[in-house]
């Protein structure tokens, strides 16, 4: 069942088109990543999904309701966490979560606040003013605030930025569990490709206000044909150079390791020839293309 439908969404600031007509949808329980270089339109898109930026044209339907006319009802079951907003810095963590909780219909607020405090490990900073927290602690409080209303749809902008690796890993597991247990839907933007690859069912690549890719991380990575064959040669290096040239391949060498970008389907033949020509090696590894490779390719490509 689709909980989000975006149709031909456009946003122009003065004469500058930032989002140039994007359409996508999202199923209940899905984790969707939105990736893109700086200025691609990720934040603009998230703002429009939250109803805090009016699109120039197009429509956004969330839970089968139009955000333009049912913003309040939609946001009752939705929440967000972002690095581009702060909580009132004079207020303590407890006060910030308390006033935020009153903006939603929550059956037992006290119980929910205690749950949130435990879930996000906020016990030690519970009575501290936000101004006194580290960047990582602020991120945790923001994430805690985003969960206060049991959201069906959660928008997370760079959720683990500024968190230390242990806490970042805990937060990733937390959101994965939330999806498993409660079928929560999550839209995530991040510059951490490994995080997106591990968490997201599907990824949308935005560039210059257009969608360049919309598929699973594995399928997007597959669009890059080249794998990387890494060899530490111990004998017959000249033969390898000849072999590379005969296949019209390129290579680079770093610290004794020769790296050859090669199409995946050519690999078996190439390795067979390496053996046949008695080229000997002490180390071999094959790096398959990743989402990051695809992202880098899109980022470098000329705009549509």
């Amino acid at each position: 069942m689709s909980i989000l439908e975006v149709k031909d969404l456009r946003k122009t600031f003065k004469a500058n088109p930032v989002i140039k007509g994007i359409s996508f949808d999202m199923a209940e329980g899905e984790i969707l990543g939105i990736l893109g270089p700086n200025g691609a339109g990720k934040t603009t898109t998230l703002q429009m999904l939250l109803g805090i930026l009016t699109p120039t044209s197009g429509s956004i339907h969330i839970f089968d309701q139009d955000i333009a006319t049912h913003k309040s009802e939609i946001l009752e079951s939705m929440n967000f966490s972002s690095t581009y907003v702060d909580l009132p810095w004079r207020l303590t963590v407890k006060e910030n979560l308390t006033w935020s909780s009153w903006l939603y219909q929550i059956p037992d607020r006290k119980k929910r606040l205690l749950q949130i405090m435990e879930l996000f490990r906020l016990e030690k900073i519970w009575k501290m003013p936000v101004a006194a927290l580290s960047a990582g602690q602020k991120t945790r409080v923001n994430l805690a605030r985003s969960m206060i209303n049991f959201p069906r749809l959660l928008l997370l902008d760079e959720p683990t930025a500024s968190l230390d690796p242990e806490v970042a890993s805990y937060i990733r597991e937390f959101f994965a569990n939330q999806r498993e247990k409660y079928n929560k839907s999550i839209i995530l933007t991040s510059h951490n490709m490994a995080e997106v690859e591990s968490l997201c069912d599907r990824v949308i690549i935005l560039k210059d206000g257009l969608i360049y890719g919309n598929d699973t991380p594995a399928n997007l990575a597959k669009k890059i044909e080249d794998s990387y064959l890494n060899l530490r040669i111990t004998k017959n290096k000249t033969a390898l150079t000849q072999l590379i040239n005969s296949h019209r391949l390129t290579s680079t060498e770093e610290e004794g390791i020769i790296t050859i970008p090669i199409k995946e389907k050519l690999l078996p033949l190439f390795l067979y020839e390496v053996t046949k020509k008695n080229i000997q090696y002490s180390e071999i590894s094959i790096d398959k293309p990743t989402l990051e490779d695809y992202f880098m390719k899109v980022a470098k490509e000329k705009s549509l």
């Binding site: 600031f13 934040t43 603009t44 703002q47 939250l50 109803g51 805090i52 930026l53 009016t54 913003k71 309040s72 009802e73 946001l75 009752e76 929440n79 967000f80 972002s82 581009y84 907003v85 702060d86 909580l87 009132p88 810095w89 004079r90 207020l91 303590t92 006060e95 308390t98 006033w99 935020s100 909780s101 009153w102 903006l103 939603y104 219909q105 003013p129 605030r145």
Partner: protein
Amino acid sequence: MKLYRIWGIFLRYYYNLLHSYDRLSDMFFWPFVDLLMWGLTSRYIANSGVIDNKIILALLGGIILWIFPWRGQYEITVNLLEDIWNRNLVNLFATPILFSEWVLTLMLVGIFKSTISFAFASLIAILLYATNIYTLGLSLLPWAGLLILFGWVFGLLICGIIMRYGTKIQTLAWIGINIISPFVGVYYSISTLPPWAQSISHWVPASYVFEAMRGLVMGNPVPPSNLLFPFVLCLFYFIIALLILRSSYNHILKRGLISVE
């Protein structure tokens, strides 16, 4: 509108007040200083036999009643600024709260703080000068209502301007209603103004309240119906100010709430 959401926004400003010594002192310090200075000045003049106690009550009454429009305006504008400074506008509006709930809460915060400041100032007047503003009786209620409505007009108007043009003109929050104060006649009768200024005062609803207060103190009470025109006028200004604020809000939604700074 949902009461629990209004309570949530109210709590946000209430907690902020508890932690902000500057905002707390605002509530008590300026009314106290004004009363001290004007009270001592009036007593000095009264001791010289030039004026009587009625004038003292009129002057102190003016100071105390001015708290309502001043705080009504100040609370709306400074609370908006606090949210802009804290980059908290998105936290507020990316939630189910309605624009009307936010505006209503700001107005309620204005009433809450005005009432505390008013109670404090009137107590100081009793303790320092044995001048009891409550002797003016029930008239105080409609006067306070009209004055706070007048304060909201300026609060909403300035809020709309700051939302649209950003904090580069935030000084308006502090100047605010004082721009119009010479035409209100807080401490003097409107008749002392030059004719051109009197014609402006005619369109300033608050001026009628201070005239009525002075009339009552001097033993020439004006009939309550005299407040009907300023009340309708104030309501008209209030609607205009609301429309301007709403238009500014729609304007920033086109630019993005994040862009407000």
